[in-house]
């Protein structure tokens, strides 16, 4: 183990600790970290924004390849910026509506295909009792149906319907359980990532061994 000599690593550790200090209570170090993030990410964003989009996708095409038509969307884009000028903010709507409308229009049939049709198709499975898959398929069939019923609001949960809804809630709970377990895992992984950073990059321990 040898301590890192890289000033940046030290900086990283300093901020890691400043953020962790929030566990004790909200404090200036945490606030500093919070604002540094904002600063860095904005600066970072602006540079990439220019290097990777504005320059190659607008400046070059328009001023070198002469696709002047692109000036129109550019103007629309600038109209969007007018949002911050209360008097002119309504102008931004033209750009926004153009964007949002198209997006919405594209979305409907595509979601229909990807998250409805394909999903329905995948739920049509051959049921049978004499093979593991067959039985699993039965479980899936019941599961999907009953959960759909649980979220069906036009009929009171009574009788058979109510029974189905009850089964549905159990499926939901198992599903949420899975999410729960996985989420716990995720949260822990995040901290482990930081621990690894401190142990390896900062303290320079060789853990792989």
């Amino acid at each position: 183990m040898q301590l890192s000599t890289n000033i940046w690593v030290w900086l990283g550790v300093f901020f890691t600790l400043s953020v962790l200090s929030f566990l004790y209570k909200d404090n200036p170090f945490y606030k500093l970290a919070e604002h540094v993030t904002v600063g860095v990410s904005i600066g970072y964003a602006i540079v990439l924004w220019w290097n990777l989009t504005v320059y190659p996708r607008f400046i070059i095409p328009v001023f070198e390849n002469g696709h002047f038509i692109l000036i129109i969307p550019a103007i629309l884009g600038l109209m969007m910026v007018l949002r911050i000028v209360p008097k002119w903010s309504w102008l931004s709507r033209y750009a926004i509506c153009f964007t949002v409308g198209g997006g919405a229009g594209m979305g409907i049939p595509r979601s229909m295909q990807a998250s409805v049709l394909r999903q329905l198709e995948a739920t049509m499975l051959p049921l049978s009792l004499n093979s593991a898959t067959g039985i699993n398929n039965i479980v899936i069939f019941i599961g999907v149906l009953t959960v759909l019923i649980y979220f069906f609001f036009s009929k009171e949960h009574k009788g058979v319907f109510g029974g189905a809804a009850k089964i549905g809630i159990w499926f939901l709970m198992v599903g949420f359980g899975a999410t729960f377990g996985y989420t716990v895992m995720a949260r822990l992984s995040l901290f482990i990532g930081r621990v690894l950073f401190i142990l390896q990059d900062f303290l320079g321990l060789n853990l792989a061994g």
């Binding site: 500093l32 604002h35 540079v47 911050i84 409308g101 229909m112 359980g177 729960f180 901290f191």
Partner: protein
């Protein structure tokens, strides 16, 4: 009124309609229209980006001018962002530059750690708050525990019953089954609902029923 509401709504409706239909039309013209639209959108968005940056600087300069509580932080934020821009353009963005170091060691450290706080909150919540309040909550917790055991290497070792009956399913197997069968079923049903919700929202937007995206004001 007309200029501020009707026409924008009309634009939404028309673009929505056109590109809804476009999906079903493989014809060249429709292809070209689509691609042109996408190109335009990208340029619009690129310039829309300015909005975010301006509002950032506005917000913080405001705080500094107003000497709002803890305004010094805004000073830091602005100062650092300017530094990033300066070095990003002067020195480039490759590994080892100020720009990339700032990003990789500072930003990543901070944001990474911020969310890793949750590791602690979740552990104390696990201890003090996650309660099997009802049969269903119990089922949830049990499923969760199985998944948690199934997703770690140790899970195999902890499946003690395998000592007696060696080809019984281990925690890992059970977890995988839960994830692939009941969980899958439940999530599919929910996704169907969510998908509906999304389409519903899009439709309302196209039909001009949902307008909140247009921002406040008349």
């Amino acid at each position: 009124m007309l200029w501020k509401k009707q026409i924008p709504l009309a634009i939404t409706f028309i673009t929505g309609l056109v590109f809804g239909i476009q999906y079903f039309v493989p014809h060249r013209t429709s292809e070209n229209l689509f691609n042109a639209y996408v190109d335009w959108e990208i340029v619009i968005g690129i310039f829309g980006g300015i909005l975010a940056y301006i509002s950032f600087y506005r917000a913080h300069t405001m705080r500094i001018r107003k000497k709002a509580p803890a305004w010094q932080y805004s000073l830091v934020a602005i100062g650092i962002s300017l530094l990033m821009i300066f070095f990003g353009f002067i020195q480039g963005t490759e590994t080892g530059t100020f720009f990339s170091n700032m990003y990789f060691y500072v930003l990543v450290s901070i944001e990474g750690t911020m969310f890793s706080l949750l590791a602690f909150y979740i552990s104390s919540a696990a201890y003090r708050a996650f309660r099997a309040r009802s049969a269903q909550a119990t089922a949830l917790l049990i499923a969760a525990i199985i998944v948690m055991l199934g997703r770690i290497p140790l899970g195999e070792q902890l499946s003690f019953w395998k000592l007696i009956w060696s080809n019984a399913p281990s925690f890992t197997d059970i977890a995988n089954w839960i994830l692939n069968i009941p969980n899958m079923a439940a999530k599919r049903a929910m996704n169907l609902g969510i998908g509906l919700g999304i389409m519903m929202l899009s439709l309302k937007i196209v039909l001009g029923i949902e307008r909140s995206y247009m921002g406040s004001g008349d």
